[in-house]
Symmetry: C2
């Protein structure tokens, strides 16, 4: 069998070389494979991985539209492989990977602003084919452009069924003993699990790659949760050697997907076997092995934020720690961390018994807007009780809530920002949250005021005596935008005295 | 002219002696008058005051139903007066003054619990007679049993008209120059004011006494705001000598009313001429001169709470300092101050442009309940735009909001507490606020859970295996109470998955 490889690839798409190699012993641990890629503008080396059946693969994402030469080395084979391939310009919907931009925001590598409107479906990709298909259809209709999900299966209330596949060769404990009352007794690594943590189930990873690719085709970033505590298989309790093997394998397989983000863990601090030195070691592996520098963060439970000032953390991934006040802290976190602030968990729209999963659509949308006018981003989730325990938050499927169309409307408002993003500003009253464009000297003449659950009947404004300003009243719930006039000097904008209103004011360009 | 005095008085009502005296010079400063009252159980001395037209008065509130003897002394007259009077038992609606009870709560002196449901009408008593009458009619229909109002007139947005009277002899600045745009330019003591700060306008004080008495007759505590910063007459900027004269006069006149509370100031920290030593001096005057020990506190603006641990402060009078989170801090304040926690200002139901005056009735009622289940008390106010600028918050009149009937319903729930008040408790989930009865060992078997804007579809409970518990689902907005059953051991209470629900659970008495 010969090596085969992509004969041509689009900029920021995936080059793949498929190489036959040794099968004796354990190919996941006993052999190495590495590819080195050179073009006029870059030289990068990446690890390949064993994909089963005597096949090794090397993947690479080229950052330039030019000719690349590659060499594949390692003891996986007695042979050396090399070749060349041209990289064509990105097609119209391919803007490259997402990067941090203007300190507090994101943009695709081609410069297009990326206004993050995320959602969470922890293990959507481990459900039935039919349900996965439904999830993708739902996502296609939504505004969500980032989805958080786990590589490993999930064990928690409403998550007691078997996943479609496991990441390792072996067999799980018998899940027929689980009930809604006793499931916590099986947390961790109960008897009955038999896994070989040094032999990956390649089909599990291939499937996740397919899902990442499908998300990419929908323009959605895959915020991969690489570790998490909701476990009854022992995957959260492996030793350092197996953890590192896992991290290296994940990066070798997934990093070439331009839409990948790394979330080191969900609720990292509830994984009691892991210490700070472990998280820092995983971070060092990503920083070394992910040559594309995908966004990296780590998600907390309660007040135990990871230190987001760590240099390897590209943006804050925050779970709210308070029932009442969540994204309203955004301006403080911006000052504290000087990074993009993403509230990935701010309670879910739903009606389950848990406090984190039963706010209204109105409250969820309010929290998104409070983040927005403070120059931060938020994430959605939905947990409505379902006869078959199919809750969007874990399983995907359909959305039943009131928030998704309003988040689409918010995305429209964000898209109309005349700049890379918003920054917080004092409003017409000192406590009103408001935003202007993120720029050094605030010359945009763009102002967005949001009143949340407050219900003013009017607000007075004054910017200067010379320019004209156009004011619009935005009903963030009814999703309407009403022009109220063009003003000079002191002026008043009338409001309906209702909740969830915003005012957008923009300076008119000089004649 | 002879002295006249009350021939008989009810316990906790007002004895009054009316004495002719000197008029030469300035009777407000040049003469003293003092009454000493003796009965089997108490001996108390109180200052009298000059009431104009050569008349001095001494007032006294007896705390025991028994024979009292009194003597009136001082240089106000060459004569000495004395006499006796019997004190009859309190009538059925007279429970005496309100006292702190069980550290965190209040009770009338006869032991009846006092569950505070306050409102604010800053200068209701300085409006037209017709409007005052309307205010009293509105109060009569409401659940409000405490009202905060000022002795001095108020100058602020929506408060630009002349009060019915002034506390001093003299004349005010011309208020016809005031507009909604310029009124702040007249803050403080602008030109045009001409007052004699050593001569009180006795009619002003007589009128306020009448109002205090009317409130008392409705069973409403008069939380008197003695000083405040919303001023265009210079009353907030007097020197220490005049301030002390004012304090002594106020106490001599009002302290014998059993329903009086002392609020040293509204937003004390915005009165920039006053320093901590001034507030402490006023407090010392009250502690010395108010021999009845009426409740004493002082109200803040923003995070600048007065140190509520000061021994003279009987209870915390708190204005929220955050737009989003207000009474949810109650449990912390209880721990910090070990006193009753009263949130006297938590934003008003309304639709004016100011952030402190445009929340919904739902949000206001929610804040009351959040206080309740944390063993604290809250205060109402209303600021709906009105064609004649008559806003309940300052002027009284009619209530237009949705909260008052719901506060009446909350008062009913409070009244049904089998004890002196509630204390915070961990709920069925660790973040659910809940309450039980304030008692040392928690044996009441009473539990009140409140879910606010969360919308659980059910909650699971377990207390013990032996007792029976009766559960009720309370819709705090629709004002309904539904019995859901009597349970033993583990049990589930179903909820409608709506906002603003509560669950009350009470242990059944054994057989």
């Amino acid at each position: 069998m010969e090596m085969t490889f992509s004969r041509q690839v689009e900029r920021w798409d995936i080059f793949e070389a498929i190489c036959p190699g040794k099968t004796a012993g354990n190919p996941f641990t006993d052999y190495t494979i590495r590819g080195t890629f050179k073009s006029k503008n870059e030289t990068k080396s990446v690890d390949g991985f064993y994909d089963g059946d005597g096949i090794y693969k090397v993947r690479f994402m080229p950052s330039f539209a030019e000719e690349y030469h590659f060499e594949i080395t390692g003891n996986f084979s007695g042979e050396k492989y090399s070749g060349s391939f041209p990289v064509t310009p990105a097609s119209v919907n391919n803007h490259g990977p997402v990067r941090v931009a203007y300190t507090y925001h994101f943009a695709y590598e081609d410069g297009t602003p990326y206004f993050s409107v995320g959602t969470t479906c922890y293990v959507w990709e481990l459900q039935s084919e039919e349900l996965q298909k439904k999830t993708l259809e739902t996502l296609k209709k939504s505004a969500f452009n980032k989805i958080r999900f786990c590589i490993l299966p999930k064990h928690l209330d409403y998550n007691l069924k078997e996943p479609r596949s496991y990441p390792y060769i072996g067999k799980p404990m018998d899940s027929s003993v689980l009930t809604k009352e006793n499931f916590h007794e099986y947390d961790g690594n109960p008897p009955g699990n038999e896994w070989d943590f040094k032999r990956f189930n390649v089909e599990h990873f291939r499937h996740i790659e397919k899902c990442i690719g499908e998300l990419r085709n929908l323009g959605i970033e895959a915020d991969l949760i690489v570790m998490h505590p909701y476990d009854r298989w022992g995957f959260s309790m492996m030793d350092a050697e197996c953890d590192d093997l896992y991290w290296n394998y994940v990066i070798a397989r997934f990093a070439a997907y331009r839409n990948v983000w790394w979330s080191l863990a969900n609720e990292y601090n509830t994984m009691r076997q892991k210490k700070t030195c472990d998280w820092e070691r995983y971070a060092a592996i990503i920083c070394e092995k992910d040559v594309y520098n995908h966004p990296r963060s780590i998600h907390n439970c309660g007040v135990y934020f990871y230190d987001h000032s760590r240099p390897w953390i590209t943006h804050c991934s925050i779970q709210k720690f308070d029932i009442y006040k969540t994204t309203e802290f955004a301006a403080e976190y911006r000052v504290r961390y000087r990074k993009p602030v993403v509230f990935d968990e701010i309670s879910y729209e739903g009606n389950i018994q848990h406090d984190w999963g039963n706010i209204s659509g109105k409250e969820l949308v309010r929290r998104f807007w409070e983040a927005t006018v403070r120059g931060a981003y938020a994430g959605h989730g939905e947990t409505y009780i379902h006869p078959d325990d199919i809750l969007w938050w874990s399983h995907g499927g359909e959305l039943y809530g009131e928030s998704p169309p309003r988040l689409k409307f918010l995305y429209r408002i964000l898209s109309e920002t005349p700049g890379p993003g918003l920054k917080p500003l004092a409003g017409p009253s000192w406590m009103d949250p408001a935003a202007t464009v993120e720029e050094l000297f605030g010359t945009s003449g763009y102002y967005l005021y949001y009143f949340g659950f407050l219900r003013p009947s009017f607000k007075d404004f004054y910017f200067d005596d010379t320019n004209e300003y156009e004011a619009e009243v935005i009903d963030t719930w009814k999703m309407t935008i009403k022009k109220t006039g063009v003003f000079r000097g002191r002026f008043r904008v009338d409001l309906p005295g209702k909740e969830y209103m915003a005012i957008r004011i923009q300076r008119k360009k000089n004649g």
